[in-house]
Structure formats: C-alpha cells, structure tokens
C-alpha cells in the first residue's frame, strides 16, 4: 500500500520528447487510469514507473521512497502485461510463485500463497497446467494471480483487457475493480479505451502527445473537460463541436446555429463578437422543441438508444484535426450526433427541431482550445 508520485518526469529519445513535465500524485489505494490515444506516452509513463525504462529527468516515488534509480524488482510493484507475459515453460503454479521464489520465500509459504491466490481467482483446477493449455481469460487471471500473490505496494497494468473478447472484457473489468477494492492496493492502469477509464478509475489521467491534459474523476472529466481534446475523447459517442460568433441577444449572449439563436451561458457575455468553439454531448441535445431545424442524414437504432446523425449547418462546421479533438475514427467534422432514448420512430430525411440546453453547452477558446473561463 503506497502513494505514487511523479515529479517533473521527462523522457526523451534523442531529440524527440516522449513525455514532458509529467507531475502526478496518486493516493494510497487509489485506482488511477492513464488514458489517451496511441503514442500519447501513457505506456512509457507506466514503464518508467515500473523501472523498465529510464527517466530522462525528474523523480518517481512509491510510498514516499525515491525509486527513480532502482531496478524493477526493487520497487515492490507487480505488473500485468497486455500479452500477459506468462512464462511458457512453467506451470501456472510456478508462474504465480515465481516472484515469491525470487524474494527467497520458503517453498511451503510460496505454495500456501499460490494456492490462496488461485482460490481467489478460481484457478485451482489449472495450477499444474502450462499457460498454453489455458483459455485467454484464464491466462489473464494467471497474470493477475502473479501480481496479487506478491502483495506489492502497487499494481501496474498495461492494457490487461485488450486481448479479451468484448463480453469477457466487460466481466473482467468489474472483477479487477472488485479485487482492487478488496485488496486496497494502489493501482495504475493504462488503456486507450475511455470506457474502461470511466468505469474503473477513481482518478483518470488523460494524456496526449506526452503531456497530461487533465486529471480528475470520471465526473469531472465528463462534465468539466478542460479542453477540446478531453471533451472529445471522453464519452461515447464523443462530444459534438461547432463554431459560431458570440452575439448579444435580448436575454443574454447567443450564437447563430442553422439560422436560429442559441442561448449561451452567461459567462459568454464578455466574449461578444468573438468566434468560439462550442461543444455539446449527443445525449444532451433535446429533440422536438422549438429551435433550429435539422434534417436527419442517418438513424442508427441500437435497441434502447438511437443515434441520430445530421449535417452541421455549413457556417458552423468546425474544421479540426481528429487528433486535436480526440474524436473517434468514425466521426467527421460535418456531422453531429444526437443520442436519444425514447419510443419515437425517427426516419432519415425527417426534420427535427433541436434545443441545446444552455447548462450543457461547453465553450472553448478557438486559439488555445481550452475551456473558456468567461
């Protein structure tokens, strides 16, 4: 059990800076998820914490102890790898017990601990099998077993679920969280999947291009993203963006969207005349009220919910690089989405009147992409 601190960590490969100015405090027992698109530096940060990669600057502490110059084995951590990295020539029993053996524990103690870990993870019947005789889910549990049996100060997990099929992934996700709650071990978990981050973490660290974008709880990231990237990255489907000029209307600041005035939050009053980026989540757009009319271009029926697509009005289209807004692959700048859960039938080419609730509207600075303070 321990706190983990990154203090001014940098990492560069030659002239390329992979990680810049990485500062982070993780509380004892916290479940912290590093999330971001590939190449954002999240795995590098984890490897530096594990001692598998050298830092280029700064210090890392685990439980208040500076471990920056210590080898992985001396940091009192356990790690679960994406490909599990089970030792193929050892039985499950030997795999789980390997770390304890390296600590020099007597064989009896090792065996007792291994049996206990196997019982917790329901691996007892497989203890004497080789990893290749196990299913993907079982291998994944062996990798977990290898971590928990050591009772380390921190768990490090590098995309441990990405090799599982979708159903098993959801199931294992909650099992890992339950296990972590019960053991109370500080956990640092790396993933590219924002759903995993939202569902598992106490603290989410959103990264891009080697820099931390925002640190916070799922709630904070969802409701108060600090910039366009976090806003677009968190949530599925991601946030809709459009741009427009702030004007002053009779009841306060407004912007034009598809020929209609959209009321803006009061903080926009001071931005009058400026072009801003606005964001609204698909589930926050309200349908069937008075407001701008849009023609649906596509209706996706997902059972309980429906995703409605419509073209962003021409003058509101925001041309931004996908990577900058953290949007997922299938989004393009010209389309906005509405997520509805109701019994109404929607058909393509149908025209809907929309309302953008003012309290759900996010406003960003077009130059810095940061949330506008007002």
């Amino acid at each position: 059990m321990a706190t983990v601190q990154f203090d001014q960590i940098t990492k560069s490969y030659g002239a390329v800076e992979a990680i810049r100015d990485f500062n982070l405090d993780i509380e004892d027992g916290e479940f912290c998820v590093f999330v971001g698109p590939s190449g954002c530096g999240k795995s590098t940060a984890l490897k530096m914490l594990a001692g598998l990669e050298a830092t280029s600057g700064g210090t890392i502490s685990i439980g208040g102890r500076d471990v920056t110059e210590l080898g992985p084995g001396k940091r009192d951590i356990a790690m679960v790898f994406q490909n599990y990295a089970l030792y193929p020539h050892m039985s499950v029993r030997k795999n789980i017990g390997f770390g304890l053996k390296m600590q020099g524990l007597p064989a009896n103690d090792i065996n007792a601990k291994v049996e206990e870990a196997a019982r917790v993870l329901e691996l007892t019947p497989y203890l004497d099998r080789k990893p290749r005789a196990l299913s993907g889910g079982q291998r994944q549990r062996v990798a977990l077993g290898r971590a928990i049996v050591r009772e380390p100060a921190a768990f490090l997990m590098d995309e441990p679920l990405s090799n599982l099929d979708a159903k098993l992934r959801v199931q294992t996700r909650s099992e890992i969280v339950k296990l972590q709650r019960r053991l109370g071990v500080t956990t640092i978990y790396v993933t590219h999947d924002q759903t995993e981050a939202l569902t598992m973490a106490d603290k989410i660290v959103v990264m891009k291009g080697g820099e931390i974008q925002q640190v916070g709880s799922a709630e904070q990231l969802f409701h108060a993203p600090v910039n366009v990237f976090v806003a677009g990255f968190i949530g599925s489907p991601g946030m809709n963006f459009f741009h427009g000029k702030v004007e002053s209307g009779p009841q306060g600041p407004v912007t034009r969207f598809g020929g209609h005035d959209i009321p803006l939050p009061a903080k926009c009053a001071g931005m009058s005349g400026r072009d801003m980026i606005f964001g609204i989540r698909p589930e926050h757009i309200r349908v069937g009220e008075d407001g701008p009319g849009v023609a649906l271009s596509l209706v996706e029926n997902l059972g309980t919910e429906k995703i409605l697509h419509f073209h962003t009005p021409g003058e509101n289209v925001l041309e931004l690089d996908r990577a900058q807004v953290g949007a997922d692959e299938e989004r393009d700048a010209q389309t906005m989405l509405i997520r509805v859960i109701d019994d109404r039938r929607y058909s393509e080419a149908e025209t809907l009147a929309l309302a953008f609730p003012v309290e759900k509207l996010h406003v960003f600075d077009p130059d810095t992409h940061e949330a506008a303070a007002g």
Partner: protein, 277 residues
Amino acid sequence: MQQRHPLNTIALYLTVLVTCGLLLFPIYWMVVTALQPASNLRAYPPQFWPADPQWNVFADLLAKHPFMLWFSNTILIAFATMTISLAVSILAAYALSRFRLRGGQGLGLFILTSKMLPATLLIIPLFAIFRSTGLVGSLWSVVIAQATLIVPFCTWMLKGYFDTMPPELEQAALVDGCSPLGTIFRIVLPVAAPGLAATALYAFVVSWSDFLFGRTFLTTNDESWTLQMGIASLKGEFVTEWNVIMAGSIMASIPIIIVYLFLERFLVGGLAAGSEK
C-alpha cells in the same frame, strides 16, 4: 480441394520416387560399395545389390587406419566449437535483439558480412598466428578457426529467434525480482530451447564437416587428424580400397544424417532467418 485423377496420382508418386532415387543414388552407392567384397568392385557389369554383404569391412577399417582416433578428434573439436560458439553467440544475439546499443547496428552488419569471408583467406593469417603461438597441430587451432565461421552464423540465427520472443517475458521477470542475468538463464534460455537446439546442431554439423581448417593446421600432426582429413587421405592412397573408404564415409556421415533428420524442421526457418530475412 478438387480430387486428383488417379493416373495423375500415380504419375506424381512415380516422379517423386524416381527423383529421390536418382538424387540419392550416390548415398545408396556408398552403402552398396562398402558392403561388396573387394573383388566385386572391378566386376563388369557392376553389382547393384550386395548379394553377400561383407560386414567385416568396418573391422578392416578400424584395423588398418586410426579411425577411432580421427573420430574422437572430430567429436572433441565439434563439441568444443559448439559449446564455445554458442556461449558467445547467445549473449551477443540476446544483446543485439533486446538492447538499442550504440554500434549495435554496425555490429549486426559486420556479423552478416563476416559470414561471407573466404575461409581460404583467413587461414593464412590464422596460420601465422598459430605458428607463433605454437597452436599448429593442436585441436584448438581448428576450434578457433571454425569459430570464425560459426560465431557469426549462430549469432545471426539466434538473434532471429530471440526477435520472435516477446520482450515482456523478461520484463515480467525483472518486475518479479529476477536479476538481468537470472532472466537470461531462468526465462530466455528455457523458452528459446528449440532455437538453441537447432543452432547447436547446426554448429555441430558445420564443425564436423570441416576439411579446410583441419587440412591446413593439423596435417603435420598425425595425432590430431579429423575424420574428413582421414577419409580424404584414404582416397589419395596408391591402392584405393573403395569399399574401405565407403565404410569410413558411412561412419563419417551417419552422425550428421541423424542430426539432419532432427534439424530439418528448423532448417528452413533457421537458414531463412539467418540469410534471407
């Protein structure tokens, strides 16, 4: 998969049989010749089947020539070469595969290039070195000379093998508290065992089959002759006893053929990894 016409099947089998028969005929002829009585060897037409196999040809071979000495010299050289080359190559191949080292790429290229050096050039300076160090005539001279060919080859072959292993295995072991050297012995080597076996066998075959180094460094010392030198010398004798030579040839090939039968599966991957890739 469509069904082949039965006639085509028969034609295919015939082709395979005839091809193998023709290509392997020299090996068959080696065995037949060895078992013929010496008088039959000048028979006209030649005897294609040893009607009366003469097994005592092997006893003859052992009696007339220091065959066992050659055999044991060859085995000693092969084992020494294999062990030394492998020990050095394993470490180097692992380092080249896993570490981004300054000069690592240059060394990789050097290893590749040195596989193409003409051995006939190397023997001149090596002879000078061995003469000055008194190693001419010693089995060590051949072991060292063979290492010039085998170390680069094994290093390249093993690097190819290590490249296919996920580095997370060793990372996991390091996190588990294993030392870097312990990681090699407890994780890397056991996991790479098939690749190591193939490489070791390959080194053994190359060493066993060597003639040039033995001929150059050991000719002056009868006590150090290898099998290949011995067999070559039998051919050069005034009266050529082909049945005895063939008996010796059989004995000199059998270990290698056995090794080949085990090695063939790895040969494709190993040679391809060592050359083409």
